[in-house]
Symmetry: C2
Subunit: 113 residues, 2 copies
């Protein structure tokens, strides 16, 4: 779930979903397939600004998904829940996750030129 | 900048700083020293709830720092800026970074038991 770098976000305000997850050591193939499906679902919901994602060697990952409207997040989450329930995957792929929905109020880029 | 896992955050609302950065290939030793200094500064500012951090093999990293009060974030950022300017580091260690300040409004943990 990455565009391979930084999300091209506008001047705030906008919205963000922060998904922190600890991968289990199980079912890499199933996880990869599901991640591709979740990525496709994520991109289908209107208002996507961009995605940033990193996962370290310890299996802890953080994905941030920026959106221009808050309303779309609930629908997107319901779709994700449904897709994951169909696959019964999240209890296999993740030992734990936290999903937080926030409103971005300020932003700065760098380093200074 | 990690507690080695998930931040123990309370029921929202609370605040978050999302720091996305692309490490350069330069000066690992200087970066490690500065990261330790930034981590110490981050923990000194009142209201820290927790830190989550991941960096992938491609050098893209995301650190999220949760705080119980928004006011502390400005002072913390000024301290970080000052510390980084003293070391002239951020132009060496990062090819780019984005820092976003947001207010967490909803949160969910999983997988479901």
């Amino acid at each position: 779930m990455s565009d391979g770098g930084f999300a091209p976000t506008p001047t705030p305000p906008y919205h963000v979903v922060i998904f922190t997850s600890q991968r289990s050591a199980h079912d890499d193939a199933g996880y990869a397939a599901a991640a591709a499906q979740m990525d496709a679902l994520t991109r289908k919901v209107p208002g996507l600004l961009g995605i940033e994602s990193a996962r370290g060697a310890d299996g802890l990952g953080i994905t941030v998904c920026y959106r221009d409207r808050e309303a779309a997040i609930t629908g997107w989450r319901q779709q994700l829940d449904h897709a994951q329930a169909q696959r019964r995957g999240d209890t296999v792929w993740y030992t734990h996750y936290e999903l937080r929905v926030a409103r971005v109020e300020r932003a700065y880029g760098g380093p200074p030129a």
